[in-house]
Symmetry: C2
Subunit: 386 residues, 2 copies
């Protein structure tokens, strides 16, 4: 009697392996389900609650979206120096609204952080990060946290990835804004400590510089945490180790996953795991530089972007794994991480590809993905077998 | 009281998710453990029992190996026309002993099948398949099942993969034996039905031709089941669907996983997912030919070889998946298969690489791998968390 009672519970719990070996139905089978559509190249998403999210459209607006009622509300008061691809004819232009993140104490202070492409008439564009207070559907008390000048006419490589570390500091990726290596100055942009571009920053939530940042010398731009960055967008914290990981776009291959270390130089354009856009480009030697290798690089183009560490329960097999969406290949990658090393790499959805900008998890651990399309979607990734 | 009792059982079963989310220890964590070493480039392995295996050394002998006592015994009476790399100075020579498989009713008839590189003085080498009766440690009643002439002086692409299908027929892969595409005759070898090379065969266990083989016309070599093969080595049956899958080596990339279909033309050298060794090679057009695409191809070199479908219980998450070892990249690939399509691809052991020729399962479902080294090993793949 008691045994039957136990077994009933076990089966109800999908734990029938007492009676039989685990079979296919208990395996991880991710499926996609569109929850929201008609978004203009959504770039990032931040959960205000389990149902309410802020979504940044690269070529549109900052929105509040309700995943249940499907209601979309445009957040008013966004800085007027925003520029995006809609206002530019050039196809493939990367400008627009990028990352949106909540302050760790958002529920109390209502602070949000947004990175975007800002323009200055007659000068060009650069990556800017603002902090603002979200009041109802408007931005108030807007403060510029980082302005990664100079303003240039380049279309590409703004970076704009942001995450708060376990240390409550704000980490920001800034691209080098260059398309052709042959346009590099004698001291390449990403290696030049006096240039704000091609770096990763670590700032206090109010934009001030932490006292314990690495020391790059008196001439270095304030707030620099790491250098040698080409075009990094995805940045996320491993909750187990507290490590910060980031993705980076290469040129001819050279797409990478990197582990962020204070004071590290990730080598661009002096060394790369890929090639150069200009095949005849010969990088200069940087005296006394030591470079940090990526933890992973692909031998084909993936365009890895908004990554995250999965901690939900719906995919038990993925717990603690690093998930990396790809733009160009349109699949989702799962990396099993052991401390500082990558143990395995799985490409998911290989027969169901779509350009994907971001993978993210709700407060309750539901998994979502943003598709990078004119009719962009918020896609729920479900485990079919649960 | 009852509740506590239930919970105790659940925890004991690793089903503690009722009380807490599933944690790392329940995940799939494959680790390698060398069981046997000092093998000369082991190519294939066949289980006589859970402890006793036959191992073919590419550059050595056919051995009986006891996985418990570690005892190795050379099987006597192997055909004297065997040729392998040891007898050839040229480095990278592919000749030697290849696949060893047991007859489905081996326990009754003691028949085994071995493919190897056979030589004819003054002519060269070709791929040969024999059937023999294993009596104690000797081969008796040796019969040639397939001799894939002509004998040529080429070093490469013998093929030699073998498996029995669910139809009890013997499937054999034969490579086209060519290294440079520019040496192809006007009608390429793998497309020429009158040439035995570059084909996949389907034979009765006694070597005779099944009545229900696909009809390639009166001039076709007997036993041909599919054509357009360059260098296929791994071939295995999906026990769920009965489908036969095989791996194929490309030149510049073009490594593939294919689903075997009766009468199919896999395209080599007319079409390939990779490049050609001779960059200026222009393949001919074959009138009225229709080609079958691979189910998977890599954009980088893997050298996929002795694959298998996993049905064991030690890795519940892998049940029914296709496992493919790689020579050049030295990792192990896991493909989730749904009927005729591949859903995901995982590269395992990315920080623990070793040239691997074969992955295989014991009668009880233990997972083993053969390393392709001068000091070759039989490696047990264990789930650390079980």
């Amino acid at each position: 009697m008691k045994k039957t009672f136990v077994l009933m519970i076990l089966i109800a719990m999908g734990c029938a392996q007492v009676e039989q070996p685990i079979a296919k139905p208990t395996q991880t089978t991710p499926v996609k389900e569109a929850v929201i559509d008609s978004l203009k190249h959504p770039w990032s998403i931040a959960f205000i609650s389990e149902e309410e999210v802020l979504v940044s459209e690269k070529d549109g607006d900052l929105l509040r979206v309700n995943l249940e009622s499907k209601k979309k509300t445009i957040i008013k008061g966004f800085p007027r120096d925003l520029t995006d691809s809609i206002r530019v004819v050039y196809r493939g232009d990367n400008s627009g609204t990028f990352e949106v993140r909540l302050h760790p104490e958002f529920q109390n202070n209502r602070f949000i952080y947004v990175s975007y492409a800002a323009k200055k008439v007659g000068e060009g564009k650069t990556t800017k990060v603002i902090r603002a207070r979200l009041e109802k559907d408007s931005l108030r008390d807007i403060r510029t946290i980082l302005e990664a000048g100079p303003y240039t006419r380049g279309y590409y490589h703004y970076g704009g990835g942001m995450t708060f570390g376990p240390d409550k500091k704000l980490y920001i990726t800034i691209g080098e804004r260059l398309f052709r290596e042959i346009d590099e100055p004698e001291m390449p942009i990403a290696q030049d400590l006096t240039d704000k571009r091609g770096k990763i920053y670590r700032l206090n939530p109010d934009g001030s510089i932490p006292d314990d940042n690495p020391d790059f010398g008196p001439d270095a731009q304030p707030g620099i945490y790491a250098i040698g960055i080409r075009a990094a967008q995805g940045i996320a914290v491993d909750p187990k180790s507290g490590n910060v990981w980031f993705s980076e776009h290469g040129t001819r291959q050279g797409d990478e996953v990197n582990l962020l270390k204070a004071g590290a130089n990730y080598g661009w354009p002096v060394i790369t795991t890929g090639g150069y856009r200009s095949r005849d480009y010969v990088p200069p030697t940087i005296e006394g530089a030591t470079f940090t290798d990526p933890k992973w690089y692909w031998q084909h183009t993936v365009a890895p972007t908004g990554l995250m560490f999965y901690t939900g329960d719906e995919f038990p097999e993925w717990k603690g794994d690093l998930l990396v969406p790809g733009l160009s290949r349109g699949s989702l990658w799962r990396f099993r991480i052991a401390n500082d090393t990558i143990q395995s790499a799985e490409e998911l959805f290989v027969n169901n590809r779509v350009r994907s900008r971001k993978v993210v998890q709700s407060p309750e651990g539901k998994l979502y993905m943003l598709t990078d399309e004119p009719n962009g979607k918020i896609v729920r990734i479900k485990n079919k077998t649960i």
